[in-house]
């Protein structure tokens, strides 16, 4: 509890934690947006979400190592991950899209393990990071440091989210995706090729994850086995915000980032992951308790 005292004696430190948390939280929100998209449209909880993020990070890392500019790598990683998502849909997801949720959770969990192990074999088990070569701002007489790459990634993440929301609202394909989400059968009757829509949705999710992974590898680190935490974070954000609530996803993401940073500081970094997973259990139990108190009746 010493660290808690530090927060009270030096409130400026909380500001530091808050800023760091919120900047990281935008990336969580981006990955969660992809999960909400797949969940809403295909009724699948994609448990390979975190692994797609990490894979995106590794793609950026490899391209950067080959000599490309790190920021240029992000769109390339997004395109590559679109293809990965599209392929994953056609190989596996197409067979489970109509089945019950348990099968889809287990199958995507299997994909997650497969991707983990493949990344471990191909990229090695080491922790990797990409240097962005950006500086640091010192605020309040150097009491608060803001790493510039985190700010940049925050705005890239928000921009991507806005672009995606715009795509869903305005384009023909976005409308088809939303129509499928509302009622797949009706959309099919009206001439929407739902199979294509599903493939695109999963590909888009892959692209979003790829971009998020590129930001993760630049602001933080990637490691083949770190994926599950991102999956759980995305899931929590979607649960708290609700499917299809974009503003909610953003705020829940930022909030989670901040909460996690504070917990990591107060409890010690070794308990930060434990905090994330315990928070999931607590959120689910609370949500369930709330639903239980709710009474509904037929009119």
């Amino acid at each position: 509890m010493e660290s808690l005292q530090i927060l009270f004696t030096a409130p400026i430190f909380s500001l530091q934690l808050l800023i760091d948390g919120i900047l990281i939280g935008a990336i969580f929100a981006l990955a969660a947006y992809g999960m909400a998209l797949v969940w809403g449209v295909m009724k699948i909880i994609n448990f390979a979400q975190g692994e797609l993020v990490i894979l995106g990070g590794f793609i950026v890392f490899s391209l950067n190592k080959a000599g490309l500019n790190a920021f240029l790598c992000i769109p390339l990683a997004a395109v590559a991950m679109f293809v990965v998502g599209w392929l994953l849909y056609h190989i596996v997801i197409v067979r489970i899209v109509e089945k019950d949720l348990f099968i889809s959770i287990l199958a995507t969990f299997g994909i997650a393990i497969l991707l983990q192990q493949l990344m471990n074999q191909v990229f090695g088990a080491d922790v990797q990071v990409v240097e962005s070569e950006l500086g640091t701002w010192f605020l309040f007489d150097g009491n608060v440091t803001v790493v510039q790459i985190k700010v940049v990634s925050f705005f890239i993440a928000l921009m991507l989210g806005v672009c995606l929301a715009f795509f869903m609202k305005k384009t023909r394909l976005g409308q088809a995706i939303r129509a499928t989400a509302q009622d797949a059968r009706a959309a099919r009757i009206l001439g929407v090729n739902t199979n294509k829509v599903y493939a695109t949705t999963f590909g888009l999710n892959g692209a979003v994850c790829g971009a998020a992974g590129g930001l993760v590898v630049m602001t933080w680190v990637v490691q083949p086995y770190a994926g599950l935490a991102y999956t759980i974070r995305s899931f929590m954000i979607v649960i708290v915000a609700g499917i299809g609530n974009v503003a909610g996803v953003v705020f829940a993401g930022l909030g989670l980032g901040a909460a996690e940073n504070f917990a990591g500081f107060i409890l010690g970094t070794e308990f930060q992951a434990a905090f994330v997973f315990s928070l999931l259990v607590v959120i689910l139990v609370c949500r369930n308790f709330k639903l239980r108190l709710q009474r509904s009746y037929l009119k």
Binding site: F102, L114, Q117, Q121, I232, F277, V285
Partner: protein, 353 residues
Amino acid sequence: MKTKGRNFVLYGSILLISLVAPLVLPAYGTQLAFLWVMVVFALTWDIVGGQMGYNSFGNVVFFGIGMYVTAVIQRNMHYDIEEYVHVAGRVDTLASGEYLAGLFLGMGVGAVVAVVIAVILGFCILGMGMRGQYFGICTLGLGVAAGELANGWEYIGAGSGLVTPVFPEGLGVRGAFFYYIFFILAIILYMTLKWLYSGRFGLAVNAIRDDEDKAEAMGIHTTRYKIVAWCISAFFLSLVGGGAGHLIGFIDPTEVAFAGATFGVWMILMAILGGKGTLWGPVIGAVIFHITQELFWTYLFGWQRVALGALIVGIVVFFPQGIMGWVRERWPERFGHRVEEKGVFSVSEGGGA
């Protein structure tokens, strides 16, 4: 009469093969012992996941609890904790009697602790009526959270793990010793489940799987049955966990004890492979899966885990009904199902799975 005689021969031969297996193949003692661990995994998962339809991803929690409680009790009974942690378990060896006392007491206490935790968690999760995918993901979080907590807790060795006491020489071969412990546990579990499934418990649990609201409306105490089913699962898992920790000899918080990505998924997979919701399915699934897994380990250098991942996806996507489900589809009359086809099949044999 004919079925009874055939069953007797079947059970007898399985029993006989199982009894002599470690004597015939002494080099594979540990792997054979783990075969029974896998059988217990699959059967305990199937109580909640298959028969009751609550797909838990976190049953491995109880395995880890049993493992840690057993190891900690044995450590605290015979050693000075400071000294033990300092030298990572390499202190003087225990006498056979001390070792056994610590092991069995630890397993017993571990089972009690696991059941108490299962009741508490059961009231928080099952008692509140959490269902479906939310239950699955909640238990997944539970499993990983337990691993991460153990990872940070100094008293039980934190991230560097806990080494169990050296196996005393007076008890013979380590693999064979634990083989018989797990074998007896698996037999007891099988008998218990056979008895439970043939009675009111089985019917109630199956009713919950088929339609929980209707089951409750018919007067079944669904919460009570759900928690009891979870407790049975926890009880046997923690017992087998206590032994498994000592068989492996080293308890790593996330790789051995709360290994959600290996044991936690395997138990689901074995039950599905064999056919969930049957008694023999998980057993068959466990045997086949364990053999496949060991073959992968031997012949696919470095790529075995990739192959396992592919196997998981393959089984779930292409073979979700399992072996027993497939057999039942193929020969329905063997399971007492009447086949409506112009008077060809008239005799319906009872028994079966």
